[in-house]
């Protein structure tokens, strides 16, 4: 009884219920939800937002908010792509990941400097850096859609398995990049759960002064956090272009809102201090189902932003209301 009570005070069961309800609705409307290829498609479209959401969740847990990670991911992958193309790079794909992660880390360090070291408000800083990075991408590099180096293209073509829908004849491929997602999730899980750094991120989000007095190096942890999130965004950029097989600089811009919505929807407390990876993944799944399946249930794509907006508002309202109850 107590266990059940405790379980339903968490957010995850409710999102799971929402997902099940939504999937049954779509199944009834279209008959296409529980088909192998649709599920693979869902997993496939979850990879990029889920990678972003892991970092975004850490930032929100720490009590901040980051709107620059898509800009970081885009610029990091774009420079990497251009550079590797210019030297006719033909080595292993890991180099592109490392390079993009390093560039992302550098850009994240700029966020970390302003937010962690100078203690400036996260939203205003990341609005500024997001504008800076997109401006550099379009201004200095005159970015436009371009090819990807052969290594990345080959990496994008490597497929784990293919699911074919017997009814419609459509088939979907599960890309290898799913392993990168799994790896990143494990790393973040380990970091948050078993390291002092991770506990520090929760502590800062709970109460920054208390964390400082408890002996956490608040500035250092924040600086690390934004570097880490930047590196993660760089990796995500390469995942994105390898799955698309071309480098479109605008492909990830604007995704930040959906990711933030997913994280908050997943039960991460909006004022910081609490949040789980499972909840975040469920949030991403719900957002992905919503955006992939609005057409399946007969809603025009013109209204999709109304859905994103409503989901952000409802999700944050529920989260804020629960925080209030706990006090």
């Amino acid at each position: 009884m107590i266990a059940a009570n405790k379980m339903f005070r968490r957010t995850e069961p409710y999102i799971l219920l929402a997902i099940i309800a939504l999937s049954i609705l779509i199944q009834i409307q279209s008959g296409q939800f529980y088909s192998g290829n649709n599920l693979v498609d869902l997993a496939r479209s979850m990879i990029v937002p889920a990678l972003f959401s892991a970092g975004c969740m850490m930032v929100i847990i720490s009590g901040g908010i980051d709107v620059s990670f898509t800009a970081i991911g885009s610029l990091a992958m774009f420079i990497t792509d251009k550079y590797l193309l210019s030297i006719n790079y033909s080595g292993p794909v890991i180099v592109s990941y490392l390079m993009s992660a390093a560039l992302g880390l550098l850009m994240g360090a700029i966020n970390g400097f302003f937010i962690g070291i100078l203690q400036l408000p996260t939203l205003v800083v990341t609005l500024g850096t997001a504008s800076l990075f997109t401006g550099i991408m379009y201004g200095a590099f005159a970015a436009s859609a371009s090819d990807v180096p052969p290594a990345i293209a080959a990496h994008g073509k490597s497929i784990l398995f293919t699911a074919t829908n017997a009814q419609t004849g459509l088939s979907s491929n599960m890309p290898m990049q799913i392993f990168i997602l799994v790896g990143v999730l494990l790393l973040v899980f380990f970091l948050l759960r078993y390291t002092m750094l991770g506990r520090g991120i929760y502590a800062i989000g709970g109460d920054e002064n208390a964390a400082e007095r408890a002996g956490f190096n608040v500035k250092g942890i924040k600086f690390f956090l934004y570097c880490f999130v930047g590196a993660l965004a760089g990796i995500t950029g390469i995942v994105r272009i390898s799955m698309m097989a071309y480098a479109d600089p605008s492909t990830m811009l604007g995704m930040e809102l959906i990711v933030i919505a997913a994280v908050v929807l997943g039960g991460t407390r909006v004022t910081g201090g609490s949040g789980t990876l499972i909840g975040t993944l469920l949030g991403v799944l719900l957002m992905t189902i919503l955006s992939n399946s609005l057409i399946l249930i007969g809603i025009s794509t013109y209204w999709s932003r109304v859905f994103t907006g409503s989901v952000i508002i409802i999700g944050t309202a529920v989260s804020a209301y629960r925080t209030k109850l706990k006090r």
């Binding site: 908010i65 302003f114 100078l118 203690q119 400036l120 408000p121 939203l123 205003v124 800083v125 609005l127 500024g128 850096t129 997001a130 504008s131 800076l132 990075f133 997109t134 401006g135 550099i136 991408m137 379009y138 201004g139 200095a140 005159a142 809102l257 933030i260 919505a261 908050v264 909006v270 004022t271 025009s300 013109y302 209204w303 999709s304 932003r305 109304v306 859905f307 994103t308 907006g309 409503s310 952000i312 508002i313 944050t316 309202a317 804020a320 209301y321 925080t323 209030k324």
Partner: protein, 338 residues
Amino acid sequence: MKTSVLAGSSLENRSNIRRLIIILLFVTVLMTIVRPSQFPTISNFNSMMRQFPEYGIMAIGISLTMITGGIDLGVVGTANLSAILAAKFLISLMKSGVSAEAIAPYIVLAILMSITTGLVCGAFAGFLIARLNIPPILATLGTQQLFTGIAIGITNGRPQSGLPLLYSSIGNYQFFNLIPVSFVIFLLVALGAGFLLSRTRLGFQMYMLGTNSRASWYAGLNNSSIIVRTYMMSGFLSSLAGLIMMARANSAKAEYGTPYTLQCVLIAVLGGIDPNGGAGTITGVAIAILILQFLSSGLNMFNSISNFYRDVIWGGVLLLVLMINKFNVWNGKVRGNP
């Protein structure tokens, strides 16, 4: 920076405004030197006066919310939604055959409709923040999506054009062929907001709330009511900006002016509004608007500079100003306890 309503504040505000005026003079002199035939001309100043009111008014709206310790990221969405509703109303009247002479009262009606929309949008954001306790950043990120989404939904993302000629001729009217109507509206808004903040009870309460919401609550202030009224003012100002944009473009569009959000936050911070709330003046914001417009018009005079560099400059300036303000706090004379 947290002591603006206390005795030391006027000193700090004055030094901030002095610094802003120096920057403004510097930009003016610089642009005059590098583009002597283009920058210091009447036609340039006239075109600048037509450009900045729309985002200037929204920047004042954002500043008001930032003074209370919040932020309104939904201003552009509110502006476009309210303009689109007015535009749809006027266009449908034109289609149903209302003559050009008889449309005047309907234009007044459309303007009232648009302002009401702005007030409702603002009240909604205020409700989310004050009653549901959603942090202002997330609440208004949500309302921005929601309002833009509704605007896209009801227009299928298409621009609404075919407005009555009378509307744009009023909106683009210039007194003495020099001073645009929109500039006069901006002046009235700036004076009104300045008066509100420095001379009224609500203005004082907004600073109190922004300095320390718990203390203001214990002092017996109705925090919820102050927040809702502040966001309604921001919504009202956004709808004015929407009406001006509609007149200038002679149409309304769901995604018009999207970069204005960042620009308005930048102006507010540059103008000395403390992002944590409780400090800043409209005079500072007004000078910041001029600085940004001078810079932006000046940059336009260089064909070789891509428009995208503007993003770099805005972002860079924002970070720089944040940093300068920060160090100024550390070295300054008046230190409040945050």
